[in-house]
């Protein structure tokens, strides 16, 4: 008979946690119970939470004897990034290769959109509209604004198109490639509904494909139309959710895209089905290399830009994405966190005593207001919240409620996001200099190794300490 002390030693059972059940873990059990109770699927915000190979699985091989580093604080490392010079009369010129991704007014509050626009302008980069169109606040706050043309065409109009600095035709996004947008009724207030020509309060489910074209041959004609309407002034981006990246990049290029935007599965959303977020698309790490290689194979790395998004957090992520072929990255979730998303507090200006002299708007002039209880009321907690879809964002980022939205000061928010983007740019140049590059765009796959076999296979760089690239 086999000795089974775990069965006969109650003391040991009490002292040790029972073995985790992989297939039916606590999250799975909770998910089954939720579906059983509500009869529907979970909907949430943000991107994939599951662990997938990502940029943390890569390391940069900085200079030593065989490479010559640049002085970290003294020698220039360029970050200027230009898109669309081949066809557009007014190419997009960015000071840093770090942009802000498309997020809708509707999903985000008007203050949040304004703050992102201000921040992008402060650091010389672009921000992007989203489903539902362009707000005047966002246009005026943004030096470089990319105008999305989405399947829903909510709020899409030629006046705003001509007022944009680039147009991005959205075929999909990383959080839900193949799916349309979603904005639940609690966020479809009067202004949002008006901009989208929808009844107030409907659960808005956007179309997943464009109304007036279907395949890549049609897309070519659509891009020509947009160029005609904008008098060939501005670049045309095409955004895809990362699935069949090699094919999609080639088709976007064939259709005439100036820039291809590839959004990996870690890319965020304001609301969609959890099953979509966690089970569709491929990781950003795999997508960037596929896209970069497709452009290289076409001989178009100079003429067609590549922007990669989905889970970019740090300058190290940026440097690695550029090394794998991206010309720039695009961030969604991270700038929202910089705005205050998931913080336990929001900051507001103190109410001055009557007849007091006006004070400045420095950080120290603000008071912190704890909203942990409001997270709890949503069934979540600061640091874990993905409840953007509820419209009850305690810090005013993803809400259309006037009281909640007022908690986000767009000026303070912009300062924080600009600080964050600057820090990312500095980290990127620091790493590029250490690799001996005087331009961040000169980072290359040869500067990378992988920590895991999976990452080595996806990024097609050697496993650290070897010259082995899986599949080669």
């Amino acid at each position: 008979m086999t000795h089974r002390p775990d069965l006969i030693d109650p003391g040991r059972l009490a002292a040790e946690a029972p073995p985790a059940h992989h297939t039916f873990g606590p999250d799975v059990l909770a998910g089954i119970r939720e579906r059983a109770e509500l009869g529907r699927y979970p909907i949430r915000g943000w991107g994939a939470r599951r662990a997938v190979p990502d940029f943390d699985d890569l390391l940069l091989l900085t200079a030593s004897a065989s490479r010559y580093p640049l002085e970290g604080y003294r020698e220039r490392c360029d970050t200027r990034t230009v898109f669309g010079a081949r066809r557009a009369a007014r190419p997009v010129v960015l000071d840093i290769p770090i942009t802000i991704a498309g997020m809708s007014f509707g999903s985000l509050s008007a203050n949040a959109k304004e703050a992102l626009g201000r921040a992008a302008s402060m650091v010389g980069t672009s921000t992007t509209t989203g489903d539902g169109g362009m707000t005047p606040e966002e246009r005026s706050a943004s030096r470089t604004l990319v105008y999305q043309c989405l399947p829903s065409r909510y709020g899409f109009n030629p006046t705003d198109l001509r007022a944009a600095d680039a147009v991005e035709i959205v075929l999909g996004q990383g959080a839900k490639p193949g799916g349309g947008g979603m904005l639940l009724g609690q966020k479809v207030g009067a202004r949002v509904a008006g901009m989208r020509t929808l009844p107030e309060g409907v659960d808005q489910r956007s179309a997943s494909r464009h109304p007036d074209w279907t395949g890549p041959d049609d897309l070519k004609i659509k891009i020509e139309e947009i160029r005609e309407v904008t008098d060939w002034q501005i670049p045309v981006y095409v955004k895809v959710g990362a699935t069949r990246v090699d094919h999609d990049v080639r088709l976007a290029v064939a259709a005439g895209a100036d820039v291809v935007v590839v959004d990996g599965m870690q890319g965020g959303t304001g609301a969609t089905q959890d099953a979509f977020i966690e089970h569709t698309g491929i990781p950003t790490l795999a997508a960037v290399r596929l896209a970069g290689d497709a452009l290289a194979d076409l001989g178009l790395t100079t003429d067609v830009g590549l922007i990669v998004s989905g889970g970019i957090r740090t300058g190290a992520d940026v440097a690695k994405a550029l090394a794998l072929g991206a010309d720039a990255v695009s961030l969604g979730v991270a700038p929202l966190v910089a705005l205050g998303c998931n913080a336990p507090t929001y900051r507001r200006r103190p109410v001055p005593p009557p007849d007091s002299a006006p004070t400045g708007a420095s950080d120290s002039a603000y008071v912190e207001v704890d909203v942990s209880a409001e997270y709890a009321a949503l069934g979540t907690a600061p640091g874990h919240c993905v409840h953007c879809h509820t419209g009850r964002c305690p810090v005013g980022v993803t809400t259309q409620d006037d009281t909640l939205a007022a908690r986000l000061d767009p000026v303070l928010g912009a300062t924080r996001v600009a600080n964050y983007l600057r820090a990312l740019a500095m980290e990127t140049t620091m790493l590029a200099r250490a690799c001996g590059k005087s331009d961040v765009h000169r980072l290359e796959p040869e500067d990378l190794v992988a920590l895991t076999v999976e990452a080595a296979a996806m990024a097609r760089v050697p496993l650290a300490g070897t010259d082995w690239i899986p599949g080669r």
Partner: protein, 241 residues
């Protein structure tokens, strides 16, 4: 006719039209010439041969006549202008129109007037699949038949079908209203036939008059509108699509 200096355009003085010969001009040149015209000007595009993207993005109250078949998106993303196509048109005629009129003196291919926010798109022949898809306040009048999924996801505006409507008419409608003079092969999810009111007769009559449809009796059209049962998530909707 006299030639305009610096362009390949000529002026048809008898018709008071500027004539652009597409056999000798690129689409870009032709559209740039159209955009430069002042309010009230008249232009004619000869030899269109199904060229795509003609007369798109116009912003002034000009009249443009396309003397032959046009390709995709003719008159699309436009405002204020009056665009006539003397022949059939391809996909997306008058797509995302903001105001003004696009008239097709023939049949139109798929997605006529897609996402039109305003203005009027008239198809004097039949229109193919998804006519009026995602309509956002514009008006579409089709003299003949429309194919499957007419008014799919149409949000606002009015569609008049002078002939018969295909399957899945009005699928997933929001607030747009459809009037059909002929038969309806089938309704889409969340669309229903509703009683015709005096306001409907007036609206259908006004649209027929604007389109020049003498064959449509506004007293004898069928009104199709949204049930509005899909406006909010409901588990019971599973399988409705």
């Amino acid at each position: 006719m006299g030639e305009l200096s610096g362009t390949t355009a000529v002026v048809d003085e008898a018709r008071d039209e500027i004539v652009l010969d597409l056999a000798a001009m690129s689409t870009r040149e032709a559209n740039a010439a159209l955009r430069s015209l002042p309010d009230g000007a008249r232009a004619r595009l000869d030899n269109p041969a199904g060229r795509h993207n003609l007369a798109v993005g116009l912003t002034r109250a000009v009249h443009v006549r396309i003397a032959g078949p046009a390709g995709y998106y003719v008159g699309g993303l436009g405002a204020a202008a009056e665009v006539d196509v003397d022949g059939p048109a391809g996909w997306g005629v008058g797509e995302n129109l903001m105001s003004g009129t696009v008239r097709v003196r023939g049949a139109a291919s798929q997605s006529a007037a897609a996402s039109a926010h305003g203005g009027l798109v008239v198809v004097e022949g039949d229109a193919s699949l998804r006519a009026g898809i995602s309509l956002k306040g514009g008006q579409l009048a089709v003299a003949g038949d429309v194919g499957r999924s007419c008014a799919f996801l149409a949000q606002a505006g009015t569609i008049l079908v002078g002939g018969d409507a295909g399957e899945a008419l009005g699928d997933s409608l929001y607030e747009a209203v459809i009037y059909v003079a002929g038969r309806i092969r089938g309704l889409g999810t969340d669309a229903r036939v509703e009683d015709l009111t005096e306001a409907d007769v007036a609206a259908a009559g006004a649209l027929a008059a604007a389109a020049g449809f003498d064959h449509v009796d506004p007293q004898n059209v069928t009104r199709v509108a949204s049930v509005r049962s899909l406006y909010h998530f409901d588990t019971a909707h599973h399988g409705a699509y």
